[in-house]
């Protein structure tokens, strides 16, 4: 693909992920290695800066994850300096975070992951009348007439006929692993196109609370938008009404399109309920505090871990525990001053780059040595999976009623036992399930916000510790956000008013982690083992599982069979990137 482009002027890639998979004689993945091939380095840039400004740099780490890094950063600084935020500010943050989930998950599904299951070209064979009947059976969504689906089909036909294919170019259309009937394909393609119109309106909440999109404003101590029902420039009655409408608009798409589509598609891919399970260990830092963030029992998503698929025993992880929350670099291109086989807690974390790999372009990673720019984060020296599946399993295990109801509905649709959740399909279903839970939670946060304002509590910013003179000489803090793709943590050390150390452990570092000091695989690596490939030169099955994690990176899938022979490479044309 790269070679097709003479000029690649505006490639935007947040770093590369490279997967090397070994195949056995039956084309089943027998071993896998996951490597981040670009260094992030934000930690180095932040040292010595004003901690109140860290979020503005942190949010540039990734164009899609701006909000999550900004929130983790301001929460880390607030934690370090002992700043509590007003009630209205917390509710506004919860609304922004919930909106981010819904927006991100819907777009991830339709614009990345759905195309792993939906054959766009095959949708041309669908009968529009039968598609209409199917749509009306699964949901009350109004765009359901035979005429509507015929129009969508004509659009797809025009794209295919144009030759250049544009948005649908270079995929694996016709791959034998695509199994949906043409009508389901057409339905999903229609919603692929509709999701683009939906997202334009779905970002409204961020525009109102954060100011100018695409880069909203954040502030340590609260939210930057004041509340004054009689002011044109503050959060007023008119803006609250827009938010109210926006919540209804966002939620409807989840209820009537996203969730029904996932439940309609999943039964055709039941084999993926037994593929891609991976580690069986799950971690969440928790999210949606209803009051003081220090009180983790107030969170909608609990701060918890699951070990060895044991849903009966939730473990409570402490991100401040230096003996348990550690990053290892035995197989990562870094150097620790105390030796490379140590684990370091992020507050003591070091970011000394030490590239020892082959000079690119190379055929194969030196997997016995260091082979990734990602460190290997571990909880109690155990590799963990983070993300929607972790959160849904934790909410399920904690007995959250709506989660339980939605999980049970999904399992019934699939006619599968609870073990089926530990899979690629489980991960994809969990994403849709939590989208519904968080979309519905927005209604509660909104009502609570309105009630808080009515009660006269309109404070959105706590300025008590804004001035560095009010800070201790040394402080350290932990900030988190359960980002759409998983547990995100920022650890900050502040000395004499400046950042003395800053470490991020991002979701994709947990999931795409290389092996550690004990040789234990990371989540992607473990989940790929055992995956059968129908056409190794078109490794669609590997993409399905990697996509099910929603990686925050771009990548080249590099296939190597057991003899070390190259069987295909999908290099993406690119020039400039950061992870």
């Amino acid at each position: 693909m790269a070679s097709r482009l003479v000029i690649d002027p505006i490639t935007r890639i947040e770093g590369h992920l490279r997967i090397e998979a070994e195949l056995d004689a039956n084309n089943v993945v027998s071993n896998a290695y996951s490597s981040g091939t670009m260094v992030r380095g934000i930690e180095i840039i932040l040292n010595g800066r004003d901690p109140r400004e860290a979020w503005a740099f942190a949010q540039r780490v990734c164009g899609v994850c701006t909000t999550v890094h900004a929130f983790a950063s301001i929460r880390a600084v607030e934690d370090a300096l002992g700043i509590t935020i007003p009630k209205a500010a917390n509710l506004i943050r919860n609304l922004m975070i919930a909106q981010q989930y819904v927006h991100d998950h819907v777009m991830h599904f339709y614009h990345l992951h759905a195309l792993d299951w939906v054959d766009v070209v095959n949708a041309l064979k669908a009968d529009p009348a039968a598609t209409s009947a199917l749509q009306q059976k699964i949901s009350p969504w109004p765009n359901s007439s035979p005429g509507y689906f015929a129009e969508v089909q004509a659009k797809v036909q025009a794209i295919v006929d144009s030759g250049q294919l544009s948005i649908f170019a270079n995929a694996y259309w016709g791959h034998p692993a695509y199994k949906l009937p043409p009508e389901v394909n057409l339905l999903a393609v229609a919603h692929y196109l509709e999701a683009l119109d939906w997202q334009a309106r779905a970002t409204k909440i961020h525009t109102i609370f954060g100011g100018k999109n695409p880069h909203p404003n954040f502030v340590v101590g609260g939210v930057p938008m004041p509340i004054d029902l009689n002011s044109d420039t503050a959060l007023n009655a008119e803006r609250l009404a827009v938010i109210n409408d926006s919540i209804a608009f966002i939620t409807r798409f989840v209820d009537e399109v996203y969730l029904p589509d996932v439940l309609a598609i999943a039964p055709f891919y039941k084999e993926y309920a037994a593929i891609g399970g991976g580690l069986g260990n799950f971690l969440s830092w928790g999210e949606f505090p209803s009051g003081d963030i220090a009180d983790t029992s107030s969170y909608l998503v609990p701060r918890a871990a699951i070990l060895n698929r044991d849903l009966n025993n939730l473990v409570v992880p402490d991100p401040r525990d230096a003996a348990k929350m550690q990053e290892f670099i035995s197989h990562s291109w870094y150097r620790y001053s105390g030796g490379d086989n140590l684990g370091l807690h992020p507050w003591q974390g070091e970011t000394a780059l030490n590239f020892t790999g082959p000079k690119p372009p190379y055929e194969q990673l030196e997997v016995e040595q260091k082979y990734s720019w990602l460190k290997a984060p571990r909880w109690n020296e155990t590799p963990m999976e983070v993300g929607p599946l972790a959160r849904v399993l934790i909410m399920y295990a904690a007995g959250h009623p709506q989660t339980k109801e939605l999980v049970d509905l999904t399992l019934k649709t699939l006619d599968a036992p609870v073990e089926a959740l530990f899979s690629t399909l489980g991960r994809t279903a969990a994403r849709a399930i939590e989208t519904k839970v968080f979309a519905d939670a927005m209604r509660g946060y909104y009502d609570d916000l309105v009630a808080t304002i009515r009660a006269g509590d309109t404070r959105t910013f706590n300025r008590d510790r804004w001035e560095p003179l009010s800070w201790p000489a040394r402080a350290q803090g932990f900030g988190f956000m359960e980002a759409p793709r998983g547990a995100l943590g920022h650890w900050v050390v502040i000395e004499n008013g400046k950042i003395a150390n800053y470490q991020m452990v991002v979701p994709t570092t947990w999931n795409a982690s290389p092996r550690d000091h004990k040789g234990q695989m990371g989540a992607y690596e473990a989940s790929l083992v055992g995956t059968p490939l129908a056409k190794p030169e078109w490794p669609l099955e590997i993409l399905r599982t990697v996509h099910s994690f929603d990686p925050c990176m771009a990548c080249a899938i590099h296939m190597v069979d057991a003899t070390g022979r190259d069987v295909g490479e999908l290099a993406i044309g690119l020039n400039v990137c950061v992870r």
Binding site: M1, L5, V6, I7, D8, P9, I10, T11, R12, I13, E14, L17, V39, G41, I42, I45, F57, R60, V61, C62, G63, V64, C65, T66, M107, H108, H111, L112, K155, I159, Q164, S166, I167, F168, N170, A171, L193, L196, Q199, A200, T203, N213, P214, H215, L543, V546, D550, P551, C552, M553, A554, C555, A556, I557, L570, I572, N575, V576, C577, V578
Partner: protein
């Protein structure tokens, strides 16, 4: 009234990668108040930029451009020279701005006028601020951006 947008793209954490965003700020400082066009910092956002692209009539994109030229070269691409492209993606975060343009085209909502102005980067390693080589080209980029906008204004006035 036609809506004109100048969109600065790039990552300011990677030296010249952020040239589009730096150029946008320079334009804003020098002539922000006199300009009819809206100045928008698009950073490295992918698909979220689609509504923005589709809602403008005239779009001038500022960005780092790898055109295989000498570092610091001013690069200019007219509407038809910008490849609209998408392909197999491994991450949702891999949506290129070209793909955003490709989607807008498929949806029949590509801006009436579209132009790309950029600089061939000298250094895209980790770091804040531009390389001296890119910095030296910046005045020419700013001047050219103003010319393009004036040309568009003149065309609209006819």
């Amino acid at each position: 009234m036609q809506r004109s947008v100048i969109l600065g793209l790039g990552n300011i954490l990677n030296t010249d990668e952020g040239v589009g965003v730096h150029a946008l700020k320079a334009l804003e400082m020098r002539c922000g108040s006199q300009m009819r066009a809206e100045l928008i910092d698009g950073g490295t956002m992918g698909l979220s930029l689609l509504p923005l692209v589709e809602e403008c009539d005239d779009l001038l994109v500022l960005d780092a451009v790898d055109a295989g030229r000498a570092p610091g070269t001013l690069v200019e691409l007219a509407r038809d020279q910008i490849p609209l492209f998408a392909g197999v993606r491994v991450s949702q975060h891999q949506v290129t701005f070209q793909e955003v343009l490709g989607l807008a085209m498929v949806r029949g909502k590509l801006p009436r006028r579209l132009h790309l102005l950029g600089i061939q980067p000298a250094d895209t390693s980790l770091g804040i601020g531009l390389s001296a080589v890119a910095e030296a080209t910046m005045p020419r980029l700013i001047a050219r951006a103003r010319e393009i906008l004036q040309d568009w204004d003149a065309l609209d006035a006819v």
